[in-house]
Each structure stands twice: as C-alpha cells, then as structure tokens.
Symmetry: C2
Subunit: 208 residues, 2 copies
C-alpha cells in the first residue's frame, strides 16, 4: 500500500522520536504526571505548539512510550523462557538476559517500573495490558515443557504471572544497582537466581 516513506513523514517521525527520547531522559528524575508539555518541547528544541502535531497530551506520549519500552522487551521474554538446557542453566541465562537488557535500556525499564502504578490511568492500563500479554506468552512457552503435564490452564497462567512479576522485580533491582560496583550487582544476581530456583522447586513438586 504505502511504498515511499516521503521526506515529509520521515521528518515527522524523526521529530516524534525526538519527543520520546527527550521525555525518557526527563522521566529519569520525575514521574509522568509531573512532566510538562513545554518541558519536553524545550528539551527537543522546538516550539511548544509543535507538541500537538504528535500527541494529544503528555498522557498520550506516555502510552506511546509504553509501546516502545515493552515492544523492545518482547523478544527478551520469549528467549528467556524458551531457552534450552537444564533448570539451573536456564536460570543463569535468564538473569543474564535481564541484566543485559537493563544495561542496554535503563530508561525504558525505569519508566515501566515507575508508571506501572503511576498517576496516569491510561498509561497504567497500557502497561497492564502488555504485561497480561507477556504472561500469556510465557504460559504458552511453559505449556510446551514436558514438566507442564497435568497442570491446569489456571495454574499455568498463575505461574506465568509469578515469572513476569519476578522478572520486573529483578529488573528493578538491577536498575538500582546500575551505578554500584560490580560486587553489588553480583549480589543481586545471586539473590534473583535463588528466588527463581525456589520457584522452580515449587514448580517441580506442584503436583504432589
């Protein structure tokens, strides 16, 4: 259908991305509900009114940020769960993946953790919807595992949510330890590994 991007639409998307980037930087030290429209345009280097060409409000911008942040997370979730190998190896890989993602996109992770329970309803709901999708994907991956034999659908979804929540908690811990020395990050890794291990043990003996 649409073939040529058009130098016009290209510029627009470039500016739009500049808004998203600038907002993400500003949101490192405040919440979305206190992010001002003028503040963002000032950071981008553009007139305040230009904002309306891209977003209806800062809440709208927030929803766009949710898509960007959790879109980039989607591949990670899939590989995290479906990695082959024995249980212990999976856990190590999963935690490495989480740590790597936090290193690569700290502002995204911070934004999600902050706005998940934040003061802007549409953003909260957008995050919630994405996390539900994640849980369903994780559930689908779990169902493929021979260990899932005899598990009810509800129990699988319950476990999936547990994993998703645990993933966010771990990511948030890595985030707090971003500027800390290496041994602190090691400590977080080991804590997260043992928590995942305990959940794995519970999973293995669930049907007893």
């Amino acid at each position: 259908m649409s073939h040529t991007v058009g130098i016009r639409q290209a510029q627009k998307q470039k500016t739009r991305q500049a808004f998203l980037d600038a907002a993400l930087v500003l949101l490192e030290e405040q919440s979305l509900s206190s992010l001002g429209l003028r503040e963002v345009t000032r950071a981008v280097g553009v007139a305040p009114t230009a904002f309306y060409r891209h977003f209806r409000s800062t809440a709208d911008l927030g929803v766009a940020l949710v898509d960007e942040a959790l879109g980039s997370l989607h591949p990670m979730v899939r590989t995290t769960v479906s990695t082959a190998g024995d249980s212990e190896e999976r856990i190590t890989r999963a935690i490495e993946l989480i740590a790597g993602h936090v290193d690569a996109h700290p502002a995204h992770v911070r934004f999600i953790a902050r706005e998940r329970h934040g003061g802007v309803q549409p953003v909260r709901e957008a995050i919630r919807a994405q996390l539900v999708r994640f849980a369903e994907e994780v559930k689908a991956e779990l169902a493929k595992d021979p260990q899932a034999e005899g598990w009810s659908e509800d129990d699988l979804l319950m476990l999936a949510h547990l994993y998703v929540d645990q993933m966010l908690i771990t990511a948030s811990l890595f985030l707090e330890a971003l500027e800390s020395p290496e041994d602190e990050r090691e400590r977080v890794s080991r804590l997260a590994a043992r928590q995942l291990r305990l959940i794995s043990v519970g999973r293995r003996h669930w049907l007893d």
Copy 2:
C-alpha cells in the same frame, strides 16, 4: 519528660495531620512529584505559607506519609507470618489480612505502590528502608519455624524478600479490584493463594 501536650502543639499536630490526609486524597489521581504545595494548602483550607511550618517541601511530606503508611502496616506483617496452623490455613489467613488492610487503608497502599519506584528519591529510599526492615522481621519469624532447620541466613532473607514482594503485589491487585464486583476479588484471592502455595511447596523441598 514532656507531660502536658499543650493546646498549641495539639493544634499544630492537628493541622499537620490535615496536611497528610489531604495529600493522600490528592495522591489518588497523581504522583507525588506533581503534587503542588499550594494544591495541598488549598485542600486543607489554609494559607500556602502555612505549609512551611510543617514541611520543608512536598518531598518531605512524602517521607512523613511513608512513615504513616508503613507504620500502620507493621502489625499486619508480624501477624501475617507468625499465624499458627498448617500451611494452607496460614495462606488463607494471610490473604484475608492483606485484603482487609487494603479495604481499610486503600490510599496508603496506593501511595506505597506508586512511590516505591516513583520520581522522588528521598521517598523511594524511605520506602526501601522500611521494606528492608519488613524483610528482616519476616526473616526472624521464619527462623522460628521448625521448617527453617538447615537453612542458611542468606536463604532465609531471600525467602523473606520473596514474601514481602509477593505481599505488595497481592495488595496492589486487591487495590485494582477495590471497585470491582465480589467475584473479581475472589479471583484475585485464589490467584494469590496459589502463588503463595507454590512458594510454600518450593520452601518445603528447598533442601532436597
């Protein structure tokens, strides 16, 4: 030392409490980092400058709110963990306690969930410090249990943090379901119960 409260100090604490109450109401629809000083004084019905007699800034007010909110939570944590009875009975009791607390102090719970990763550093740190204390208390209770035999200190603390985080997640779920019909709240109860059950199973087989 101090015997008479003094009609003066009494009035002051009354006004201070009015600030905390008003702020808690305003924070139901926004985050602390967007809470204005004038907004609060207007809600209390007092001059803007009166604010400075009680707090240095809204961040300062936030820290006071953390103490109030988590102070009221302390008794709950203790009884939640130390309740007698078999594992299944404990879980049911614990979830009832959480649900009851959310019903009784929804604004407190919302505030903690929101500001735990919120945009105001001193408040984040105050919450973090309190949650660490909770985890240590839970650890102490867990250590009393005969089931804790053979557990390392680190593993006990790891499990304690898992319980504390799970408690917050559950509270937050109940909060979201506050206005929902009874069967939705039932669904949350059962989900939370099964997650706690899985952790219990993992705990029981940890030393295998």
